[in-house]
Symmetry: C2
Subunit: 267 residues, 2 copies
């Protein structure tokens, strides 16, 4: 994981993550509601895009949200305060060296974090240490290999693949979603259940065309333009056509498909 990549360091990136969180909030979070007085650890909260949903859906739980970046913690704290939630404490902490006693938490929540780690099993084992026996871990990740669209052109696929290659180049695994089941099993969790969370968008869903296709997916691809061209993954002309073609998926005949995975396991 390189510091110049991790989500949340630019204002633009922070806005993208908030847009994404708003549009996809129900899809991701509706089945995660922690009981009153339960102690919940959110690991890798970033700028708080998911924290706000956790705080909202589990108003009487005590949430501790950590991130390795002090700057992200500051933004997340501002966001939560601005929205009037009182059930979250923030702390700068390293996932691999957690400043908590064994079995400190009833539940652990990790969203869009494992994709950035070179050793996700070590991270899951570290989280398992601070989880009480019988407590749950919830993991959410995307899978960039799940993405397809209509119309599909060679250049649009190439632009999309630039995103995958750029993220992989930063020691990330943008296709980790499909691995949640074996990762949780191989970290020693039991009763593992993984559910695909599907984003299917056609023009009958204009709010998703806007919030997902344009503001999340294409914005994310556009974010690697300079890097993709500079590193020779694609030439400038193909890039322009690729992006233009991706925008065709937002027209009346367009269709877009992406798949997140949500997994739950018990210690």
């Amino acid at each position: 994981m390189r510091d110049d990549y991790v989500h949340g360091y630019s204002e633009e990136e922070a806005n993208r993550l908030k847009d994404q969180a708003n549009t996809l909030a129900n899809l991701m979070h509706d089945d995660t509601k922690y009981p009153a007085d339960s102690l919940v650890l959110e690991a890798g909260c970033g700028v708080g895009a998911q924290t706000i949903m956790l705080a909202k859906n589990s108003p009487q739980a005590h949430i501790t949200s950590i991130d390795i970046s002090q700057e992200s913690i500051k933004q997340a704290r501002d966001l939560i305060e601005k929205n009037g939630f009182k059930n979250v404490e923030f702390q700068t902490a390293d996932l691999f060296n957690l400043p908590f006693e064994d079995e400190s938490f009833d539940h652990v929540f990790v969203c869009f974090v494992l994709e950035h780690l070179q050793d996700p099993i070590a991270a899951l084992k570290s989280l398992k240490r601070v989880l009480k026996k019988g407590g749950s871990i919830t993991v959410i990740e995307g899978d960039h290999g799940s993405c397809y669209f209509y119309p599909e052109t060679k250049e649009a696929v190439k632009a999309w693949n630039c995103l995958i290659e750029c993220q992989t180049g930063f020691d990330c695994n943008p296709m980790i979603g499909r691995e949640i089941y074996p990762l949780l099993k191989n970290s020693g969790f039991k009763d593992v259940q993984v559910t695909p969370k599907i984003v299917y968008v056609d023009s009958s869903k204009p709010e998703l065309v806007e919030g997902f296709n344009k503001k999340t997916i294409i914005a994310m691809v556009e974010g690697v333009k300079d890097q993709a061209i500079a590193s020779g993954l694609i030439d400038a002309e193909s890039w322009e056509k690729g992006i233009k073609d991706l925008y065709k998926t937002t027209e009346p005949d367009g269709v877009f498909f992406y798949n997140f995975f949500k997994g739950k396991g018990i210690k």
Copy 2:
């Protein structure tokens, strides 16, 4: 569409389709139940793999199932009789030249048919002619571009892509699933709604590992072996490794994902 390709001409292929229908029946059909006395046209029934589900889920509807192949109709009729259903009539007929008056049916059902047609919009318009105003059309298709798995190796992806290329070579469109929304809209249907039907398989679902990964997906890939090697799409050694690697998706750490689409429109 070439006669030597269409599903259902070999016994092995017929068995594959029945296995597939059994495993996926609930996923595909549970939300299609036609009312008593309604007149339903099933277009392209093949050997009856879907007919049997229609007959079961809509016991009081009058179903007319057609196919262009007399041999398939014979097999479908045998299957339906053997299972004791009395609510289906069979007829050999051409989808593009239907032997029915305008507005003869209350509902039309088309499953795994459009993928084989060079002009799916012409087919949908032909079906629209025999549908009553206000009646529904239901379309189900797979999308081979939706498939991904873990572990993923170069050879496994290559073997899977051989299936796509072989089917495309027969003037089929194995990635038509994503197009159901524009196809129905552009054929003049209204209130079009498309729902992805997800098959996510990990080792917590042994019946799907068996019925879907092995008996449906890998069996389908294995079916194009001779053609793929003969046409130079892949060498024999890569093929063997690819198939072996696909079987790794059926082991305890394996994961498999495939996506069907079900669309409904109103005349």
